[in-house]
């Protein structure tokens, strides 16, 4: 199994898609609840697997284009088929996933195995009948949105109008119509005339969940810009600018690097947005630009390890974050296969681990604790023993229930609330 690079539930939560470094997409489906075990929640089983992207080579620029799936976003369901967008660094694809459980039999012009019948041998006319067959799930690429990004695509976001979507790379954001592949509109361009003057890049972008004219994008300098597409065609001038003032006395070589925002997500309500930087998660009220309303420390103990984290490149790891369905809790990953959940109301937080040793099926996860100094208690783990190769970058929360999906390198864990 390859390294998982993205995880996403669909709007109903019945389907869970994962993308990996090898360009494959695996979709899991929640099984219907079993009547004989009424209290057992449905499990997720593999529903469909397909190769979304292949590695490519851009000969003109001598650039290898990785097949790694950077993001998957589902479209809202409109008919029996399911649609999702998947993207690598350069190309976005719209996939249709449909079920086939019937097959026509009794064709006039061909045999059951597909061979053409000799027309002169056909003496009678028959009407083909539909016969049931074993369920087959087919994935087919319906649109390919290519050649619109010079730099590497980091985000895609489906608009609430269900007709358009945006794709963002390091320097530009494009707006697409789902039906049109040969054209896209550039709505943000932060490329300086002189590349020597480049000081920040776009790290993530997302459409507002309800207002189809509003989107946000975050930067490597820790700022978020909210743009309104009604104000102008090119949204280089933001409508709102979110930045937390920095204490100048605490500035260091690492300040800008650890302030870089790796993910931005609107709350389901549309009132708030959440950003993830290297050490913390911040919740912002869209009406207050000068500071976040809540800040949660994910792994503050890493602040005294920044030198070695810079040397091993871990300081550049891009962690994602997510809201639960009611926006009362948030979740993000950390190292050593730990992930953190914060309850916004009670202000309680918990650290859990996604690993084979600590999770047997149906067992309750034990809270973990990192010892930050002094005597290490039993069951605590010291900062120096953390495995920085075991990073949880991608997590997803079911849109309505307390079911979470956690990607730990090449393993996918699905946890749910215990049923008393």
């Amino acid at each position: 199994a390859d390294i998982i690079s993205t995880v996403e539930f669909n709007y109903s939560g019945d389907l869970l898609a994962t993308g990996d470094k090898g360009g494959r997409v695996v979709i899991f489906q929640r099984e219907q609840e079993n009547k004989s075990r009424p209290h057992s929640r449905g499990e997720y089983n593999v529903y469909s697997t397909f190769q979304s992207h292949e590695p490519e080579f851009d000969y003109l620029k001598s650039l290898e284009i990785e097949e790694k799936i950077n993001k998957i976003r589902w479209l809202p369901q409109q008919n029996a088929a399911h649609f999702l967008l998947s993207t690598n660094d350069k190309t976005i694809k719209l996939w249709k996933i449909s079920e086939r459980d019937k097959r026509a039999e009794g064709y006039n012009l061909k045999d059951e195995d597909g061979r053409l019948r000799d027309p002169f041998r056909i003496t009678a006319l028959r009407v083909p009948v539909l016969k049931p067959m074993d369920l087959m799930v087919e994935a087919s690429p319906r649109r390919i949105f290519a050649n619109a990004h010079t730099y590497h695509i980091n985000s895609i976001s489906v608009n609430s109008d269900h007709e358009t979507y945006l794709s963002a790379d390091d320097l530009r954001i494009n707006l697409w119509h789902l039906e049109i592949t040969d054209r896209s509109f550039n709505i943000v361009d932060i490329k300086p005339a002189n590349m020597e003057e480049l000081t920040e890049v776009i790290t993530a972008a997302e459409f507002h969940p309800h207002h189809c004219n509003v989107f946000v994008y975050s930067s490597s300098k820790g700022t978020i810009r909210l743009c309104d597409m009604r104000s102008s065609a090119l949204c280089d001038r933001h409508s709102k600018f979110f930045e937390e003032p920095e204490d100048p006395s605490s500035r260091s070589f690492f300040s800008e690097i650890i302030s870089s925002i790796s993910d931005v997500k609107f709350s389901h309500s549309g009132q708030y947005m959440m950003t993830r930087d290297y050490l913390s998660v911040k919740v912002w009220d869209l009406n207050m630009e000068n500071r976040p309303v809540e800040t949660y420390q994910v792994h503050e103990y890493l602040r005294s390890k920044l030198c070695s984290l810079y040397e091993n490149d871990c300081i550049f790891d891009k962690f994602e974050c997510c809201w639960n369905g009611s926006d009362s809790a948030i979740m993000t990953g950390s190292y050593n296969n730990f992930f953190r959940m914060f309850d916004r109301n009670t202000r309680r937080d918990i650290t859990l681990e996604a690993s084979r040793e600590s999770s047997k099926p149906r067992a309750i996860l034990k809270p973990r604790k990192v010892c930050t100094g002094g005597k290490r208690k039993k069951d605590e783990i010291s900062v120096d023993s953390l495995d920085f190769n075991k990073k949880i970058l991608h997590t997803a929360w079911h849109p309505m229930e307390n079911i979470i999906a956690v990607a730990a390198t090449n393993n996918l864990y699905i946890f749910q609330d215990k049923i008393n």
Partner: protein
């Protein structure tokens, strides 16, 4: 640590001092264009597409001999394919260590 002291060093500053001690020539502007340019150039490989396509044409349907376990060693008839080539390490990485 005594927080009343004027010369309190935050953990971040202490880490910065450690880094500067190891790599004294580290750039003044860490978030500046060098670091970002490296990010924008991910995936650069140097590769002769002419040789590659000629070899593919000659071999027709046969597979090109692929590199041995040591991908850095290219010998004999082997024409490098994009998959075989190691990623060119961008100069920022070497400068971080070489100083």
């Amino acid at each position: 640590q005594d927080t009343q002291e004027k010369e309190t060093i935050t953990p971040e500053r202490a880490e910065e001092a450690k880094l500067k001690a190891k790599y004294p020539n580290l750039g003044q502007k860490p978030g500046g264009s060098d670091f970002l340019m490296k990010r924008l150039q991910k995936g650069q490989k140097y590769f002769d597409s002419g040789d590659y396509n000629m070899a593919k044409a000659k071999m027709k349907n046969k597979q090109l001999p692929s590199a041995g376990p040591d991908k850095n060693l290219v010998t004999g008839d082997h024409i490098p394919t994009p998959q075989d080539l190691p990623q060119r390490k961008s100069s920022l990485v070497t400068s971080k260590l070489a100083g």
